[in-house]
Each structure stands twice: as structure tokens, then as C-alpha cells.
Subunit: 239 residues, 6 copies
């Protein structure tokens, strides 16, 4: 069975703490068990060069891991002078996923930057990042609405993400590091509040997986995202 | 209707030309319609530092686009001094996909580097790259077997890839650039010769997609990969 | 008067939280009022090239600010591909300061890396970093002693740091951001538990300062460091 | 004797294939024996910063080798993050040579970028690049004339290049890789259609060469360039 | 006693040669014994982006060592592609120190860049740089006044710098390399002509230093800077 | 007429000052009129990776210009993080030219690095660099012989370089900056003491040049190098 003793369709304890730091328009500490990611949303009154003068806004994301968020210290990317391939891949995924939740026209010619920095890693940092970044983005958008910089709420969907995989032959939900490093297949699924797909990224680490396994994983993902969407809504409902 | 007049489940004309250049152990020009990628496989008697002394081999991939392979000239990555996020993402995907086809233990402590360089782009460069790289890898492995540097064929599967997507509401196979730039959903599917999944990467560009659309796209992918696997086998059967 | 209403010789509330994250040998969240820095100490069984085979150890430090730890978002150094001059200057200061507390011979041929990452900034991040890093270093050294990797405690001193400055003509202790951005002189003083100097860095931002002002600031620094040393000891005394 | 059995004043078989790829304004595959270079010319309606607002145009060149264009795989420059000294030297030579063929005033405030990418190398890649780039440049200029973006043909000369050298004591024309790696002297000569010099770069690899040897090499260069100019003209005469 | 036989409060022979090279608005070779630094001041009619349109000027500095200015050749920073931490630290110190001598408002929206390049190093390169850069800056300012690009002299103070330290238990002035590499404490003190402090940077290399040692070093610094200010004035008085 | 009033075959005043700085094995200030270059030769007991264990030595060169060696300040290459194409081209030329003077086998497995740093530029910095570097190299080799690290003198030739060009229709020797910026053709010629060629690099800046012009320039180069070789010998003959 699972090292944590969880059921196959059981998420780790989820905690979403808003206003974790004070400067950002949105600042959320998201915890999926021992995975802790600080997600901030920064609203800026400018857009990247390729969008200037077009009246549309932009959402982008950056991702980082503190050097000792992991069991063995990783070199600091700023010191090495380049971001690793994995980092680039993840931050592109976060950006695409959140852009799917927002009407960039309605946002107007401004940019919201989502910074997802992993304080402690135990598997699933990219899905925790997306789930937390949605809450930070919502706080930032609400600030823009309150300041009347944006007229009409540009958010048209809710977005959350979870990992699924095949661990010792069994489809499981929300893999922790121990499971992840041994899983035969590992998928990250980004969905909206209606259970529709925004992004799927799945990799067979061991042997290839079959259509029925894909279906079983998609069903677990649906269950997981439904709970995460509820946790987001609950966090946003309180002050 | 598709701009090219193709049926929804119709691939573009596929051409696989082996021995396209003379130095590499494997050298393949793969064409998916107007998309042309030169895939070379280079066998080297050394492995990256993290594998030294472990008796296992490695497969890695690098991807590039010639600056004017596209409609508008792109800046040369070597001149700008860094590879773009998209490039990094693609070469990691190619490497993972091909590693799924090979027994790294049986390869022995050596490395095969797959270089996929796009001469002309018309959509689907990453799926063409994977499909062509498999043929180049096979030629390189056969060379190693012939030279008796490797005893037993380490290849245990055949790998090919194709894109699927939803274009104007219709699931379609093997999108060209015109379709790709307008598609609501765009997926890249890597499969083996048994129709099992090695990698799935799907992104909703417009609105989110449903489970039944996912299933329809997976079926198209199965059809496409079956034909690509046949084209690979045919190319490898001739001299 | 000070914007915070503090007395000239009054520190902000100091909080030192050990075991803030779980992977590092030492992990400390240090707070000087609203300035919050996560300091981790990572022990590694290797030394930089210039020390190999000499039987001596090394202490080094790296410093970073999360992009939105500040009022206006700063570009991520990993994304820009280089650390700023200010970052380099600070991490060199932290490393030198902590090396002054330890017998590198007694540490043996191993390295402890101190990562100081600012989660929230409100002035004094470098002095908070040094003060917190000392506690993280102590925890890491105690771990090495417990694991019998080190025989004899290599720490021979206690190190803490505080800023002093001249704000509206008045020497003050532990400047926050509002004071710092307006101060005529700004000094960072690193001292040991005996009130002796390890490092002094002072800059006249407005007009030059006199010898009597230097003496007044040194006296404030002595008062501040005495209290910080007590706070470190208290944190280390508890579990 | 020459390894290839060629006469001292004999070029390798020359092939110039226009319209090799479809996106660029000029796209030429040039072959000097087994050396194959893809030369594209891209016309852009902007100039580098140092020329803005001056009404003059610019021609520049970039050069690259596919990693496995050579016998042993070379590291990809984009992955290493910098172009080698040799690359920089060659692309500057190509740019200077082609600028000698064109009236930058008549070109108007626009830029043509010549990309020379080596698909397969067997010596003489820089001279093949210049020779092919001239044809690609001509195609691009003709496109500009046809589109009426340029009024009057800015090309005022024809440019081609060839290598000469001293191989086993004998002056020879158009060295291949086997000759080049053993030659005592190696020169690259760029000339116009009137047999006048645009650029000479000669290096004594073994012992220094004499004035009479220089003269013999210049005569071979004249013979070679005359033939290359004819091959260019022939290629441009057909459709 | 001191390796050079100097008294504890004795500077090395100081030489300041103006007009050392001919292109720069100010060009000074400063010698502190065997330490030789070429300081040039370049006046430019533009300011860095963060100051544009504000009507204020800027002073900045860059520092470099010729690769063989030292006993063992150092790698060239331009070739390695990055400036070392020590370089960055020093050039920031030089810039801050000289900005303390000038009214940036009166300078107007222009920039003076101070380049300090070490031709030969024997300890104290940063203090020699500051002392020489002041003279070069004065020459550049005088040129601007003469050209009537600046109306009123923006220089309001004179700046010089000297190192002090504790060598074999004894406070000493202006350490050379032999002393510096063995000193227990090493301080760099920047002062104005009135003996007031602009910058203090002191580091205990061996054991921590006491308040009375700090006072003794400050007194030596005062003596040294008084003499350096006189040497600067003398150099500026002649043609 | 030439702006300097020189005859067409007249060099500028040449000065070669040995022992200009004290740390390097060879240290030479070379002056061609107002062009002043500091050339140092550093002997190191190691070779680049590609030569390790082969018993042969290596000569390499690095070139730099101080930012204000020129009329307008150039950006510092170390600060920009990369060497310009021109720099790379020049240092490769210097290295090749000096390797032509030495028996790398006889040098043994060690390296001599030639650093050529331009203090003041007035045209011809690369030819002055080569001419000065030869003298520095000789001093370094003599030091190795004196220290008995090398048994037999590995220098087998003398090398000097000069520029020639066509200025207002007239072939001229040793162009200064005023001539250089206006010349129709500009060549750099490296020769040995016997008047044989080591390297020729010539570029038509305006219109292409003819064979008779090439011959006239080669004759001027011969005259110039003869005089430079004499100046080198004279400098080396004194102490």
C-alpha cells in the first residue's frame, strides 16, 4: 500500500494560507502535506514587448526552489547563471494553466506575475503551485477591481491541479516524493471547476501505460481537483 | 474543413530518408508534409557525470530550429546565448520518449545523443523529431552491434509520436501550422508499437476540453502512430 | 522621532524559529520586525577545489530575495542569469562573518553552506541573515557532532549583526526600511558575544560623519548585538 | 598527389540548389563536394540600432554547424551558451564579404540577414558559405525589387570565395578536410567577378610561405573564383 | 617590524601622474609604492535608465585588474564571462565614495564613468583607485566647466582613501601585499578633506578587534588621508 | 598626403620598453606612435585539456582594450559578460602568429599566455600587440631557460607585424587611426625575420583591390617588418 497509509483516492492534508507576506497583491502559502509553496501575484501596469499597444493583458509565472527545500541541497540557479530545463518547463506550465482562467482582454494592458517559490518539497510542487497561484491571482484581481483599475472581473474559471500516477500497479492520487520517485507513470492534470481539462502531462517512467489506466487516472484526477477547488473556494470565502 | 483538404484522421505525406548525411552513426531526414527535420544519432563512449562508473548508458536529445526554418526569422539561440524555454521543453520530451524504447543497462556505459534540427517548419516539429529520432537511434544501435561494442540489442520497443487536436470543434490528426495556430486544443502523443502511451502532453488553448474529446483524440493518435510505426519499419527494412 | 515610535536604542521585536523546514541540518526563520529571512545550513562532505586535500573545512553563504519580498517586484536573478552586485556583496559578508565563529581545521574537510532567503523585506536583511545563520550553523554543527562526523565542537564564538545609522541627525539602532531609505549614514556591524568587532561596513549616504558619531553608533551596535546574542542563546536553549 | 585524385587547380564538384526551403526570401543549398551548407537570406524592415534613421541598409551574417556535421560530434553552441571564436570569425568574414557586393544606400533602411548553416562538413565551409550566400542574397534582393520595396538593384558586384593552400609542397585549389588538416598554408580568398580581391586570409600552419608561393596561390584562387562565379550565374539563370 | 621597514604611520611613496593617456577627459596614473592603477574619467551626455528625465547626473565606477598585474596570473574576467564578487564589491565602493564628493543636481543630466584598471598590484588597489579617481574626476569636471556644459562646479568635497590594519599586533597604515596577506584586521577608510568619514569597511581576518584598536586605526587613517589629500591638491595645482 | 606628414613607407616612432611591470616573466610596453599596448607573457606549468599528457606545450593570447583607450568610451567586456567578435578575432591572430615562432615540443608540457592590453589606441593595435608579444615571449622563454625548466631554446624564428593599406589611392605603411578609418583597403601582415609570411589578413573596405596593389602592399610590409625586427633585436640586446 501507499507509504503514507493513504487510500488510493486520498489527497494529502491541504492548507491554503492567504496574506502570507504583506507586499504582494496576492500572497498565498499552499501546503499539500509536507510540500509548501509560497505563491505571490504581482500586478504591474505594463506588458511584455510583444503585447504593447494591443489593449490586452498577460499572465506569466516564474518558479523556483529554495536550495535546501529538498533532501540534498541543489545549486542556486541565480548563482549558476541559468534556470534548469525542469524549472523552465514548470513555469511555462503554471503560466499557461492560469491564463486559461482569465479573459486577457478584460484584464486590460497590464500584467500579473505569479511567483511560485518552493520552501519545502515533498512531491507535487507544480500542482501545488498551480492550485495556490489561482488563489493568489484571485486576490490580486480583487485588488485591481477594488482600486477600479479593472472594471469587470476578468476571471471566468477556477483552476486547480493534482498529480496522479501508477504506483506498484495501482492508480493513486496526489503522489508524495516517496511514491513519485518509484512510480511507473506520473501525470499532472490541470482542470477547471467543471471537471474539464486545461492541461495533461503524463510520462511513463517504467513501462508504457494502457488506455484503461489512463481512464482510471483521469477519474482520480477529477476527484482530486473537485476537492482542491472546494479548498480554494473555502480559503477565498474567509478573510 | 481542414485547410489542406485532409480527412480528420489523415496524416500528411510521411517521408523518412536514412543516411541523409554521412558522418553520424544514424542520420535521418524525416518529413511530415512540409515539416522537415534532420535527426542524427551520435554514439559516444562516455556518459554524463551522474552515471559514471555505474555500467549504464544514456540517451539524450538536443533540438534546434534553423533561424529561417519559420515564416519569420527567429533569433539564433547560439547568438543570444541561451536556449528558449520551448526548446528546452521539446528536447527533454524527445530524450524521455526515446529512453522509453531502450534498455540502458544493455546499452552499456555509453551515450547516444539525438540531435533534431528543424530545416523547415510547418507544425508538428516535435512529433516528427521523435519519429525520425527513433530511426536514427536504430541505425546507431545497429552500428554498435555490428562493431561488437554492444552485445545484445538494447532496443525493446518502437516509438513514434503524432499531434492531435480540436480544430473548429472537430478532433483532427497531425496538425499543420495553419491548424495549430488556431486549434482549441493541441496534444502531442508518444506511443509504442503496441499502442500504449509513453507520453501525453495536451493543452487547451481556447476553452477546456471534455473527457469524450480526450477519448476521440486518443483514438486518432492510435491511428496515426500505427501508420508512423509502419513507415519507420518500412524505412528500416530497405537499405 | 522614529516612524515606528521606537526609542533610538530599541530593536524591533526579534523572533527566531528553529526547524522551520525539515530537510536542512539547520533551518531557522529569523524575524527582525517585518523582515523575515529563512536561513538554512547544509552540511556537505566536500570542499571547494582550492581547499581539496588540505584537511580544512569551509563555510560559505548564498543570499537571495524572493521577487516579491519587496514593495515593488524585483526581477528574479535566476531568470536574468546573474546575481546583482548587491547580492554578491551581501553573501560575501555573511560568509566572512560566520567563518569568524568557527575553527575550520576542527570542522575537517567538509563544507557548510548557509542559504539566506528573504521572504519579506523591511530593512536590515543582511544583519538578520547573519544573526539567523549563526543559529542554523549551530544546529548543523550539533548534528555533525551527534553523528560523530566531527569530534570536537569547531564553533569558538557567537556572531550576531545589527544595523545602526544616523536618522534625522540622531544615531539609531536597527533601521527599518522607512528609516533606511532616508538615513544620512547606514552601518552594518557584526560582533561576537564579547562585543568585539568582526566586520564594520558604514556608508555616508548624505554628508560625511564625524568620529563622535561613529563612536555613538558603535555603542548602539554593542547594545543591539548584546540583545541579539541573548535571543540566539535563548532560541538554542529550547527544543 | 591529392587524396581525391584531383588536379592542383581542380575544384570539387559544385552544386547550387535554389529554393531549398520555402520560407526565406533566398534559400540555397551549396555543395563543394561533400561540404553542404544551407544559406538563407532573410529581408527585414529594420536595421541595427547604430544605423537607425540614417536611411542606409545593412547586411549581416550568422554561421553555425549542426552538431554532427563533422566526424566527431561538436557541442551545440546554443546549449553551451556561447559561440566559439572560430564561429564569430567566420560570420564576420561572410558579412564583410557580402557587404562588398551591395550599395547599402540603395538598399534603403532595411537589413538582410544571411544564415549559413553547415549540414555536412568536409573542408571549405566558409568559402562555400560566401559563394552560396551570394546567390541567396541575390534571390532576396530580386524579391525586394519585385515587391517594389527597393527601387533600383543595390547589387553592384558578384562575390565568390575559394580556399587555396600548400599541400605537401604543392599549391592546390579548394582543399577538402583531409588536405586542410595537413596543409602547410591555408588561405581563403574572396574575389569579385572581375578577379579583384575583397578579402584575403592566409595562415602558415607549418613553416612560413614565400612571395612566389603567395603569387601561385593567388593565381589558383583566380581560376577557382572564375569558375564559381560562372556556377553562380548559371544557377541564377534558371528557375 | 614592517617588511618594508616603514614606520607604523608611514605611507608608501605616492605618485599621481595626470594626463597619462590622451583620450579621456581625466586620465591619472596613481602609484602607492608598487601598486599602480590607471584611473580614467569619461564624461557622457546620458544617464542610466533609472535617472532619465530627472535632471540629475550620475557617477559610476568600474574596476579591473590586468591578468598579470599580480604574482600569479588571474583569469581574464571578460573571457570567463563574469566579474568576480570581489570586483563587483570594489567598483561599487569606488562609485559610492566619489558620489559623496559631488552635487549630482549641479552636474546635470550627464554621467561620469570612472574606470580604475590595475596595471600592477601590491596591496591597496581599492584605496589607490579612489584616491586617483578623485583627481581624474576633477580633471573631467574642469573640462565640462571649460566647455560650459556645466555652469557651476558640482564638486563640493575632496575624497581620498587609505587602508589601515593590525599587523603582528600593531596598528599600521597603508598595508602592502605582504602585510595584507598576513594582517589580523584590514580596513579601508574613505574620508573627505575635513577628516570626516565617507565609508568604512573593516574585516577581522584573524580574531575580532576591540574598540581601542578601532580608534587607533581611525587615527592612522586620518593621518594617511590628510597626506593623500595634500598629494592630490599638489598634483592638481600643477599642469 | 598622410595626415601625419609621414612618407608612404614610413613607420611611426617605435618604442619597446621591457620590464614595464614586475610580476610577469615577460612584460613589454610597445608603442607604435600613440598606440600603446602592454604585452605580458606568463609561463604556467600546465596546458589546456586537449594537450594534457602529450609532452607538448602551448602558446595562447588574450587581447583587451581598456574602456577609455579610445576616443569614445567602449563598454567593458567583463561587465557585459562577453568578448566582442573583434576581440576574439584579434586574440586568435596573436596566438597563431606567435605559435609560428616556437617549437612546442621543445617548450615541453607548459603554457605561455600572452596578454595584450591596449592602454591607448591610435590604429594598429593588433600589429603592435604581435610585435610586442614576441619580445615578452622571448623574455619569458629566457627565464625558463635560466630556471632550467626548459633545456633548449624553443624559439626558432622572430615574428613581427605591421599594417599596410591603400589610403586615398596610395599604398601606405603602418596606418594610424585617421588613415585606418578612411582607408580603401586595410591589411595586417605577420612575417618572420626572413621576410616570409606567417599570416595575411586583408579587407577591401571600399572597392576591391588588384593584384598589383597587393604586390605593392606586400613590399611595404616587408620594409616595415624588417625595421620592426631590428627594433625588437635592439630592445632585446640591452638590459
Amino acid at each position: 500500500m501507499r507509504p503514507s497509509g493513504r487510500q488510493p483516492d486520498e489527497l494529502r492534508p491541504i492548507r491554503i494560507t492567504r496574506h502570507f507576506t504583506r507586499h504582494a497583491e496576492g500572497s498565498v502559502l499552499v501546503e499539500f502535506g509536507d510540500t509548501r509553496v509560497l505563491c505571490t501575484a504581482s500586478a504591474e501596469e505594463s506588458v511584455p514587448p510583444f503585447l504593447r499597444g494591443k489593449g490586452r493583458g498577460w499572465i506569466t509565472a516564474e518558479y523556483g526552489m529554495l536550495p535546501r527545500s529538498t533532501g540534498t541541497r541543489m545549486g542556486r540557479e541565480a548563482a549558476r547563471g541559468r534556470q534548469q530545463g525542469r524549472t523552465v518547463e514548470i513555469q511555462r506550465l503554471i503560466g499557461r494553466s492560469l491564463r486559461a482562467a482569465i479573459d486577457l482582454q478584460a484584464l486590460g494592458e497590464r500584467q500579473i506575475i505569479l511567483d511560485c517559490d518552493v520552501l519545502q518539497a515533498d512531491g507535487g510542487t507544480r500542482t501545488a503551485s498551480i492550485t495556490g497561484a489561482y488563489v493568489a491571482l484571485t486576490d490580486a484581481v480583487n485588488q485591481l477591481l477594488k482600486d477600479r483599475r479593472v472594471k469587470k472581473n476578468p476571471l471566468h474559471g477556477q483552476v486547480a491541479a493534482v498529480s496522479v500516477g501508477i504506483y506498484r500497479g495501482q492508480p493513486v492520487l496526489d503522489l508524495d516524493y516517496l511514491e513519485d520517485s518509484e512510480a511507473e507513470t506520473d501525470m499532472n492534470v490541470v482542470m477547471n471547476e467543471a471537471g474539464q481539462f486545461i492541461e495533461i502531462q503524463g510520462t511513463a517512467e517504467g513501462h508504457a501505460f494502457r488506455m484503461d489506466e489512463l481512464n482510471a487516472m483521469m477519474e482520480l484526477a477529477r476527484i482530486g481537483v473537485t476537492r482542491l477547488v472546494a479548498a480554494q473556494s473555502e480559503a477565498l470565502a474567509t478573510n
